[in-house]
Amino acid sequence: MEKAGQSRSVKKRDILLFLSIFLAGIAALLIQILVASLKAPGDILKITVDGTVWGEYALDENTVISVETELGMNRLVIADGKVFMEEADCPDHDCIRQGEIGKNGDMIICLPHRLLAEIEQKDGGGDREPIPDAVVQ
């Protein structure tokens, strides 16, 4: 109560705090965009539900995958080497808005259903550096 007056005066340190956090975030984002642009297309879709692997699917085969667990239903579509979430019975549909993925390391997450759909490469696993030359389409 006694300090209500202080709250009105935005101080120099407030602005500095905002700018340092904001600019650090922007810098990290720019690096991520650069890294993402260097990523090679992946060839496997790995679906994980609640920490355990649900299934792996080759990206060169167009198909529709229904993931039904006690947590809920998600339907993913593989089309022309890309993956997107077509339907989900969660309330917010954030996973559908995440759009298409296809590059090694890309992911779609559905938090309420604890579902993680990620793109990997057959040999070497998703965590290694992508080798663009090794991909032939």
Partner: protein, 211 residues
Amino acid sequence: MNNTRNNNPQDNKPCADMPAKRPGDSGLQGSPGRVSDCRRQKSAAALARKTAYLGMLTALSMIFSYVEALIPFNFGIPGIKLGLANLMAAAGLWILAPAQVFAVSMLRILLTGFLFGSGVSIIYSLAGGVVSFAVMLLLKRFGSFSVFGASVAGGVSHNAAQLSAAILIMGTWKLVWYLPVLTVAGSLTGALIGIAAARVLPVISRKSLLE
């Protein structure tokens, strides 16, 4: 809620054996055993007013949560939203005791969580609410930041806490990838809420509402 206020017609009459008002007395502390009946009534009335006021703030922040759920303000990444209810958490620190702000925040999260959310959503909200409360309180106490700075740090720490909860629940570190975008989003929404709080505070901290 209005009834609580009107149940105490003696509110405004000064006690004969007591000074009308002691500076800095919120009516919540004080030992009822040693005071006169009149004084006890007055402190009960003050407690009732305080209860009504905190209940009103809880209801208001629930409305903020609800209104926000109605607005399609969504970027596809869970956790990126304005966080209107944090206006209460941020501004509250400047007009209420920390424990009261914390109680209002937790009540709001549990009530809206059970009313409109799913079971898991409460865990994310609680993680964000508890951590951002602690960070804002620390910045106010030891960093002497204004409500703007506290709100910025609150927004960022809120998102970081929710991301940590998601990493634990989903069981994968890969979600750290979302930290930069959540940091940018948290600092921006925190700044907006901070600007709003700085404007709202002079109005809601008027004594007529609290005393």
